[in-house]
């Protein structure tokens, strides 16, 4: 008899308030293969993963592990069945104030049979052994919150392995990782595959899917519409995802002449994060900013927006010095920031979608300080339409899929009249179709405002930006016009220390 697959889903489905968001999904994963799952925003990927990891108490259909039915109605049930996941928001499964060691053996600590009396040395020795399985080299006594995103991911992987996980799910693990980090993660994933784990990998970056997967599954509107047994082309995947051939994503042939200079940043300093960054940005051009995670892109944008204190430096707008101490000042001056961390910094999770959209420029929908409900609804409906926000748009924004939440975070700023638009990883978690839409939108906004487009996805920056800055360790280490530089050079600059002298 043939060996049963590691995990098999049979007719799995899920409804919310009577609406089916997942219907009759069946597939399996065998030991030693990486299966990718893709689909447009709201297709149901995260819901499927949540079912597999025991997040929901009830769902339809069956899941078999090694041929026997598994009961995945709680996270511990799923872990006991050998399924674990690395979520995009890794922070949600790490206890920030506990040490790395304690986090590594968190599940064991939670086990009622674990000895009540804790010995720090023993915990750390145990944890160190676990960390070694994925080559995580950090001080075991550090609080976990001090780790980098990448180290946190490794921590979660190691912890899952220690629990004898056999199926490991990655939900958009690379959404804010840059190239070298992605490669390191892929090396880890391949290693896991070679150890016989089954991997389910979710990402909106199609090039990654092609690089890592053995098979590709495509979800559309909650249904499994296609299953590629060998690796298809990016175009095939996109066609299956969207139900139609994707819009051409060739770099837009804009031969832009930059307009008047809008923003001048002079010697911007943020203690420990940004060191003497100066540049100018003009209307009509998109200024890309790229670099590894932690290079200071986010910190630079936040400083320009007044979200973090500058320790030195000035900001000029249309040649005039402006005093930006707080975000309120920035917004008054037409400087808008679309932040990187959407859940923490961008959304009122318990507010409905329309209230999130209207939140920044609420005065536009008010008469004498009283909200005109009809005009607010109308404005929101237009933005929902314009950005193709889909799913449960009537409910709280928390119920939208990740990519659709991201569109809300962007959309709430589009009611304003920007002079400077600071975009931080604005396409993270957004599907290929809408991504093109956002690029078009950014291009359109650049006619009216100076646009700073920060992204750790080098290809995206290369194809969109008219000019680009490369950052490393809080400094600008390279500045190029479109076409002046290639991917490789940027990568070296972003990571390499020797090239610094050249600039």
């Amino acid at each position: 008899m043939a060996v049963p697959p590691l995990i098999a889903l049979e007719g799995v489905g899920k409804r919310f308030d009577g609406v089916a968001v997942l219907r009759d999904v069946s597939f399996d994963i065998r030991s030693g293969e990486v299966v990718s799952l893709c689909g447009a925003n709201g297709a149901g990927k995260s819901t499927l993963i949540k079912i597999m990891t025991g997040y929901y108490e009830s769902y339809q259909g069956r899941v078999r592990i090694d041929g026997t039915e598994a009961r995945l109605h709680s996270p511990s049930g799923a872990r006991a069945a050998g399924i674990d996941a690395v979520y995009q928001e890794v922070d949600t499964c790490i206890a920030p104030d506990l040490s790395v060691a304690e986090n590594l053996i968190l599940y064991r600590l939670a086990n009622p049979h674990y000895p009540l009396w804790q010995n720090r040395r023993r915990i750390e020795a145990e944890a160190r052994a676990i960390a070694q399985t994925v080559d995580l080299r950090v001080d075991m006594a550090r609080p976990a919150r001090l780790l980098t995103l990448q180290q946190k991911q490794l921590l979660v992987i190691a912890r899952a392995l220690a629990q004898r996980a056999r199926v490991l799910i990655f939900d958009e693990p690379t959404a804010s990782l840059s190239q070298p980090e992605v490669e390191r993660l892929f090396a880890t994933i391949r290693d896991l595959r070679n150890r016989g784990l089954g991997i389910l990998y979710v990402s909106h970056r199609l090039s990654e899917l092609l690089a890592i997967s053995d098979r590709v599954l495509v979800l559309r509107n909650g249904e499994l519409v296609q299953s590629f047994d060998s690796v298809p082309t990016a175009r095939d995947i996109a066609t299956a995802m969207l139900g139609a051939p994707p819009p051409d994503d060739a770099p837009q042939p804009y031969a832009h002449s930059a307009g008047p200079t809008v923003l001048e940043a002079i010697g911007i300093e943020v203690r420990g994060k940004v060191h003497g960054v100066s540049f100018a940005a003009a209307r009509g051009e998109i200024l890309g900013i790229t670099g590894l995670v932690g290079a200071g892109k986010t910190e630079l944008l936040r400083a320009l927006f007044g979200a973090d204190a500058r320790t030195a430096g000035e900001i000029r707008l249309h040649g005039r010095l402006v005093h930006i101490q707080r975000p309120t000042d920035a917004v008054k001056n037409g400087i808008y920031l679309v932040p990187e961390e959407r859940r923490r910094h961008g959304l009122f999770l318990d507010f409905p979608v329309y209230k999130n959209l209207s939140s920044v420029f609420l005065a536009r929908f008010c008469r004498l300080g009283v909200i005109d409900a009809a005009s607010e609804r109308r404005g929101a409906a237009q933005m929902i339409e314009r950005l193709h926000i889909s799913g449960a748009v009537e409910g709280p924004v928390a119920h939208l899929s990740g990519g659709n939440q991201q569109k809300v975070v962007l959309g709430k700023w589009l009611f304003g009249d920007p002079q400077v638009l600071l975009l931080d990883e604005v396409t993270q978690g957004v599907d290929v179709g809408t991504r093109q839409e956002i690029y078009r939108l950014v291009r359109e906004m650049s006619q009216r405002a100076a646009v700073l487009f920060a992204s750790s996805d080098i290809d995206e920056v290369l194809s969109l930006a008219d000019r680009l800055l490369v950052m490393r360790d809080g400094r600008v280490v390279g500045s190029f016009a479109r076409g002046e530089v290639d991917r490789q050079t940027i990568l070296e600059l972003a990571a390499n220390v020797e090239r610094e002298m050249v600039v």
């Binding site: 927006f305 707080r326 309120t328 920035a330 923490r344 959304l347 009122f348 999770l349 609420l362 005065a363």
Partner: protein, 344 residues
């Protein structure tokens, strides 16, 4: 699992899918109102005097102080704060208004004005502690509770403020309590006690303010995610300050009504209202499944408690049993509102 077990499980899954969540949703939405309605029906049946105009006029008049104090708590909770100094503020307003009239010959209007001002001042200090010094809301207002209670005791030096009372310098107070002041609770307008009108007017205004104005919406935004609000250009500190000022004002207004009701300056008269106010505000979370602080819910919470106290007193339920029952209702309401939050 044997094949014979499977159909059973499938029916179970289907059952939870179709009607259980709907029923659960219905319960979460209407639970509190159903309890209130059931209680009223029950009391009407066992106590003929319960459902009379006189009794309900008294009941609603009795709840006016609680409601005002509860609304004060609600406003602070909207910005994700927590004002537990409201009872002390109400008590302070009692002392201030009585002292103003009895000792300093103030008119009724002056007495009211000074009381409300004292509420605003305490609200401002709360806001300073929380926004500027960044103390946690609960600790700051708890500290203020003690300070304000202490100040009251210093003011009255262990006495009750009444006309003719002996002052610390040996002379006796010559002012009187203005009848127009007492009329705030004891007078009537269109057959109803004025305090009822005050309560309804304030509740309606506040409801409109919080649900339909820009400032009200942004207060909720600050409460929902302070950092996201800040990064949306909202001056978070100003909104929190505004909320605590409003909270102090509403609590002091409750104190004014209370002073007009008791007619003497008793120290610490407001303290018992704090817990009831917090309870009403929290019960309000669960009304109509809103899951957040809101004016209508707070009003229903206060009404539910007033009906319980009124009815149980009629039924001669001992005071301490009433307390236990109130507590149980509040816990049930909280359970409901957290169920709303964690659904999905």
């Amino acid at each position: 699992m044997t094949p014979s077990q499977r159909p059973a499980q499938e029916t179970h899954v289907r059952a939870t899918r179709d009607w259980a969540p709907a029923l659960q949703g219905l319960f979460l939405r209407w639970g509190i109102l159903a309890v209130l309605f059931g209680l009223i029906v029950y009391l009407s049946m066992v106590q003929p005097q319960f459902l009379t105009i006189t009794n309900w006029t008294n009941l609603i008049r009795d709840m006016s102080v609680e409601t005002l104090v509860a609304l004060a708590v609600t406003v602070s909770v909207v910005v994700a704060g927590f004002d537990v100094s409201v009872g002390a503020v109400a008590g302070m307003a009692v002392i201030v208004s009585m002292m103003a009239m009895v000792v300093y010959h103030a008119s009724a209007a002056e007495a009211v004005g000074l009381s409300l001002l004292s509420g605003l001042v305490i609200g401002a200090v709360n806001a300073f502690l929380i926004v500027r010094l960044r103390l946690p809301d609960l600790l700051a207002t708890l500290g203020m509770l003690f300070v304000v209670d202490g100040v009251q005791q210093v003011f009255v030096a262990g006495q009750t403020i009444t006309p003719g009372m002996t002052l610390p310098n040996g002379s006796s107070a010559t002012g009187t309590i203005q009848p127009s002041f007492l009329a705030i609770d004891q007078g009537r307008f269109l057959h109803l006690p004025i305090s009822i009108w005050i309560m309804f007017a304030v509740a309606m205004l506040l409801w409109f303010f919080l649900s339909s104005t820009r400032v009200g919406r942004l207060m909720y935004a600050v409460g929902s995610n302070q950092e996201a609000a800040r990064l949306s250009g909202v001056n978070v500190g100003a909104y929190k300050t505004g909320a605590y000022l409003l909270s102090g004002f509403l609590a002091a207004l409750g104190g004014v009504v209370l002073a007009a009701r008791i007619g003497v300056g008793e120290q610490l008269a407001g303290d018992p209202y704090m817990l009831n106010g917090v309870a009403a505000s929290m019960i309000g979370f669960a009304v109509l499944g809103s899951g957040r602080a809101n004016v209508f819910g707070t009003f229903i919470g206060a009404l539910l408690m007033a009906v319980m106290v009124n009815g149980f007193t009629m039924l001669n339920v001992p005071y301490y049993t009433q307390q236990a029952m109130l507590g149980a209702v509040m816990l049930a309401a909280l359970a409901l509102s957290y169920a709303v939050k964690s659904r999905g």
